[in-house]
């Protein structure tokens, strides 16, 4: 296994030596164009960051570090703090990941290892189709289907039947609109991303890898656990990061289900708020300058949160990959 290239890594493309010393005009134009494209992305990102931070500056200067720690959000008194939204964004996304990742991995393993050939295509297609459903449709489905089930079945089951109401995480009245509802809808929304990437990566595991494990006397379960999944680990984690990025920025469906309350509560039954939701909710009607600026500051914080969470996830992938190579 040592030295096996990670599936995501492509062999380096041949360098531009054929065009050295003046190739055809087409080659030069092509090279200039692709360079321009590559440069355009960081430039665009820099522009976005600059614009957001510039617009957020009045609020950041006024509230300073307190903007990150305060729970106040009072447009009438011009007091703004993003702590509940930062908490809600991170918790709902991480929770969604905890729910979705094992499920998505299970789907991917079934599709790549156990699924009869005739079923694989239609089933993969259906899972991928989950990604094509618009966010607002998820929100509506959540409001009219998921919330009643959560309120009448799942929440009483968790609180009473399992007796989890004694823990702070499942206490309080079960209204439906809650952090839990947001996490569940996010889990369903990011499932296709994680499972599609994982499936492709698992299918790319060489046949010899599987045969070697089986030849050693491994059962099918042992083969998947010890030979296939570890081989594809980096790629699977990549899929998980993709899902996480999607969850952090998701707006509409979350807004419709999370209850939109500026409050940090340990209970998953309590309503919460996310950074993306508050911008979507309030930006259109924010006429006051400081209010607009505070919303832009939420955007800037969301950028930072996304960067930090992605950084942690990348570091995780990197350390896993290094461990794998060692």
């Amino acid at each position: 296994m040592a030295g096996a290239p990670a599936p995501a890594e492509q062999p380096a493309p041949p360098d531009d030596s054929p065009t050295l010393g003046g190739g055809s005009v087409g080659d030069r134009v092509y090279r200039t164009l692709t360079t321009a494209f590559a440069v355009a992305i960081p430039v665009l990102l820099a522009f976005i960051t600059f614009e957001v931070v510039a617009a957020a500056w009045p609020a950041l200067r006024r509230f300073g570090f307190g903007f990150l720690t305060s729970s106040a959000w009072d447009p009438q008194r011009e007091l703004f703090g993003a702590a509940p939204m930062i908490y809600g964004t991170v918790v709902s996304s991480v929770l969604a990941l905890i729910l979705a990742a094992p499920l998505a991995l299970g789907v991917a393993i079934f599709l790549s290892e156990f699924c009869p050939r005739w079923l694989r295509q239609p089933l993969s297609f259906l899972v991928d189709l989950l990604a094509a459903i618009p966010s607002v449709v998820y929100g509506l489905w959540g409001m009219f289907f998921l919330l009643p089930i959560l309120r009448e079945k799942v929440m009483p089951f968790l609180a009473t039947t399992l007796g989890l109401a004694r823990t702070p995480f499942f206490s309080g009245p079960a209204y439906g609109n809650s952090m839990l509802a947001a996490a569940v809808i996010l889990a369903i929304m990011i499932l296709p991303y994680i499972s599609a990437v994982s499936r492709e990566v698992l299918m790319a595991v060489p046949r010899s890898q599987r045969e070697a494990a089986l030849a050693m006397g491994a059962t099918r379960w042992e083969m998947i656990r010890d030979a296939v999944v570890p081989y594809a680990r980096t790629g699977i984690l990549g899929g998980v990061i993709l899902g996480l990025g999607r969850a952090l920025g998701e707006t509409m469906a979350v807004t419709m289900l999370i209850g939109n309350r500026h409050e940090i509560s340990p209970s998953l039954f309590a309503p919460g708020y996310t950074l993306a939701s508050v911008i979507a909710n309030e930006f259109a009607e924010a006429t006051n300058e400081l209010h607009t600026s505070a919303l832009m500051a939420c955007g800037a914080v969301l950028l930072v949160v996304t960067l930090v969470v992605n950084g942690i996830a990348r570091w995780l992938v990197w350390s896993v990959a290094r461990e794998q190579k060692a």
């Binding site: 087409g26 164009l33 665009l44 959000w73 009438q76 919330l147 939109n260 909710n281 924010a286």
Partner: protein, 360 residues
């Protein structure tokens, strides 16, 4: 060859996206279709009646008016920056906002009346729930938390109220509906005002309790599904979705059902006492007058007193003249209350004060 063409095309797209962000943003608000005579933007609440007016008016006169319901805040912004020919808002512009307009002084013209109604989900009630302003205020402040609270029972002696918790549902998005509702509580519930430490009034306030629903549909959906909940929505929305609607006590002590007639009556009480030189930035919530529903409000068109383009200004004034006569008759069918006749007349006269001959 083909791939080169594609590459060039996508480069152009990238450059366009990089360079003209501001430009593109303002361009996208302009209609691309030719032949549009006037552009407006603003409130979503009166959008159904406005779009009917504009299509009826186009059919009658051929003058095309393009209206984008982007919200009152966006309407005020685009109007102040001179991007659109007229704005529309559910709440009047503040004095400070009025000093920051591109083309000088602004006139507010009320167009129709709307109302905010209390909708609730309490099983087994034999008659519509009755509420007072102080009671609604205390429920939304989290001071009254049970449906069988003695104070609710006192105004509903005939109802069998359950011992259930009250779940408050409010709008999470900034909205004119919230403005009207909090404007009413500000006037009817002493504990609601900023001065006494309450949430105050605005399109967004800090709610002491409850869940936030996105839009009228979010609030109504949550209330419909959740036993024990209470929320507020626009009258038109509540009627079209047959929600339970509470009767609210007015200043004359009557419990009034929100209807077209009771909303117009609420305006009549206020308009009768209006001074001649009013700028019409007036709130009619909790106003005087018998039979009036207390959570009623105007919605306004914003017009420059000296339109920068006189020809467009003339077209706008012609439309508004039509709106105050023929247009008012279309309102009730869409659950908006028409203006009292005397007010429509006064406003028609006021249209004459718009300067149409001056150069900008």
């Amino acid at each position: 060859m083909r791939s080169r063409a594609i590459a060039l095309a996508s480069l152009a797209a990238v450059l366009a996206a990089c360079g003209g962000d501001r430009q593109a943003a303002s361009d996208s608000t302009m209609p691309s279709s030719s032949g549009v005579d006037l552009n407006g933007a603003g409130a979503t609440f009166p959008y159904p009646i406005y779009s009917k007016w504009f299509s009826d008016y186009a059919a009658a006169t051929g003058v095309k008016i393009n209206y984008q319901s982007i919200g009152s805040g966006g309407g005020i912004r685009q109007f102040s920056e001179g991007i659109v020919d007229f704005g529309a808002s559910d709440g009047p512009m503040t004095d400070e906002e009025m000093t920051r307009t591109k083309h000088g002084s602004v006139l507010h013209f009320p167009t129709v009346l709307g109302a905010v109604v209390m909708t609730y989900n309490v099983a087994g009630l034999s008659a519509p729930l009755r509420l007072t302003g102080e009671l609604i205020g205390d429920i939304f402040l989290g001071k009254v938390t049970k449906w069988n609270d003695a104070r609710i029972a006192a105004v509903n002696p005939t109802l069998q109220l359950p011992a259930a918790d009250i779940l408050v549902v409010h709008r999470s998005d900034g909205s004119g509906t919230t403005y009207v509702f909090t404007d009413y509580l500000n006037s009817a519930s002493p504990a609601w005002t900023l001065a006494s430490g309450g949430p105050g009034r605005g399109k967004e306030v800090q709610w002491p309790v409850g869940l936030g629903g996105q839009g009228n549909e979010g609030v109504a959906g949550t209330v419909k599904q959740t036993p024990g909940s209470i929320g507020y929505v626009e009258l038109a929305y509540a009627k079209q979705n047959s929600l339970a609607i509470a009767h609210v006590r007015n200043t004359a002590g009557e419990f009034v059902e929100p209807t077209i007639a009771s909303i117009t009556a609420a305006a009549e009480g206020v308009v009768a006492a209006l001074p001649q030189d009013t700028d019409y930035r007036i709130s009619i919530v909790n106003g005087p007058g018998a039979g009036g529903y207390p959570i009623s409000s105007f919605t306004w068109l914003l017009v420059y007193s000296t339109p920068p383009d006189a020809a467009k200004g003339r077209k706008l004034v012609d439309f508004m003249r039509w709106m105050y006569s023929t247009g008012q008759q279309a309102a009730a069918a869409l659950d908006y209350a028409p203006l009292p006749a005397a007010l429509a007349e006064r406003l028609t006269t006021r249209l004459g004060t718009i300067a149409l001959n001056a150069t900008p």
